[in-house]
Symmetry: C2
Subunit: 236 residues, 2 copies
């Protein structure tokens, strides 16, 4: 936890918060916080700053906070992922949130196992938990938006062209020698397929929606590795 | 499995192999291979090419292979990691192997939990398994070398200066505004700390060993995300 993420309900005064539960335990046992300790903190979807622990109880602590800094710049990226395996999805969501991604679409694809859509990982409470962990890790307060799209063709044909408007539209796909550009640093919509890759029909549909196909060379990466790798490559 | 990794003991003739066990099951159930199927394959630490399934049995298959291609270029990177949590280490080893890393040092650090050094993940048989998975993923045959270094000071003071000779020496550390360069594409030795970061003494020791401290900006990433992120940033 590199930033203590506050909610409105934590406030017991204009600049005073009370923290209990998971965050309290983390501050106590991992960060070894005590009265007088200074911690980075931020209010969800608002400003960030510092908090000073004013009292340390058995199961809660109080802090005085000054929130006067803007969160870091978001990445100008819309990330579209074929729904990954639930365990990997957790890590991806936490990871891309820590990297500054703010728009995420999870879509269906031929090689996505149907059961993945039934996973509790996709329940909104859980998604929010992964986002929070990612924000605490990356020192940010702005919660990403996430959309679930269960119908590939409808989504790719009707919605993706609008989502990708005014942005560089990329499908990451190992079966091309077209190398993914680097240091783009402008608005980008990046589509990443499932383990095993998109089928030809899907690649074609994406191409028709304006998404050019790029690879990263001879190597093929897992979705999780590819996602971080491509974000770093596009935005450095 | 994007490449079937062969061992010398698989060969039953000059250009014929017999495959059973995990690889057979994967070819059968995931890749849906059958007699006549063509698969990418490669001999460990040797050349790669294609194999054609010539017979498909109940618990093994036979292939005729032609291995006439060089494996992809290795990354000119020596990766030095403060020993990560075992579960994460597995994924990191598989991931960096798929990215083409060939030299890995796992070292101790103040914030590395002692118990991590007792993990079965560090047994050579297991390390080799993760490397194989990474090579199968990244379509490569060259197994990385790995070294375990349990004494930080001795390693950082005596060995690291020699390991880093003639290379760009970098310590990734969030507590600097010195931004990590990108697209270096030359020999680099990259040191990445534990969760929670290096302590000041360690950063200083690394600096004295010739390792300059760089961050990736305001955000702080998990070791796993940082490793992939930095590799992509340095080598694009």
């Amino acid at each position: 936890m590199n930033l203590l993420l506050l909610e409105k309900t934590d406030f017991i005064g204009d600049d005073r918060v009370r923290i209990s539960g998971r965050r309290f335990e983390h501050i106590k046992t991992v960060l070894k916080g005590e009265t007088g300790s200074l911690l980075s903190c931020g209010l969800i979807n608002k400003k960030m700053g510092k908090g000073c622990i004013t009292s340390f109880g058995f199961d809660s602590l109080e802090m005085q906070v000054t929130l006067d800094m803007d969160p870091p710049e978001p990445l100008p990226l819309t990330l579209v992922l074929a729904l990954p395996r639930p365990k990997m999805l957790k890590r991806i969501l936490e990871g891309v949130t820590s990297l500054g991604v703010k728009e995420i679409y999870l879509m269906n694809s031929w090689r996505v196992e149907k059961s993945f859509w039934q996973s509790p990982v996709l329940e909104m409470d859980n998604l929010e938990k992964y986002f929070r962990l990612g924000l605490e890790q990356g020192r940010d307060t702005m919660v990403p938006k996430i959309y679930l799209k269960r119908y590939f063709s409808k989504f790719a044909k009707e919605e993706l062209p609008i989502i990708g408007q005014d942005s560089l539209c990329i499908t990451a796909h190992p079966k091309t020698s077209n190398l993914c550009p680097n240091s783009i640093n402008k608005k980008t919509t990046l589509v990443i397929g499932p383990e095993g890759g998109f089928i030809e029909f899907e690649v074609t549909t994406l191409e028709e929606a304006g998404f050019e196909t790029f690879s990263i060379g001879e190597r093929i990466l897992k979705v999780e590795t590819a996602t971080t790798y491509l974000i770093s490559r596009l935005f450095t």
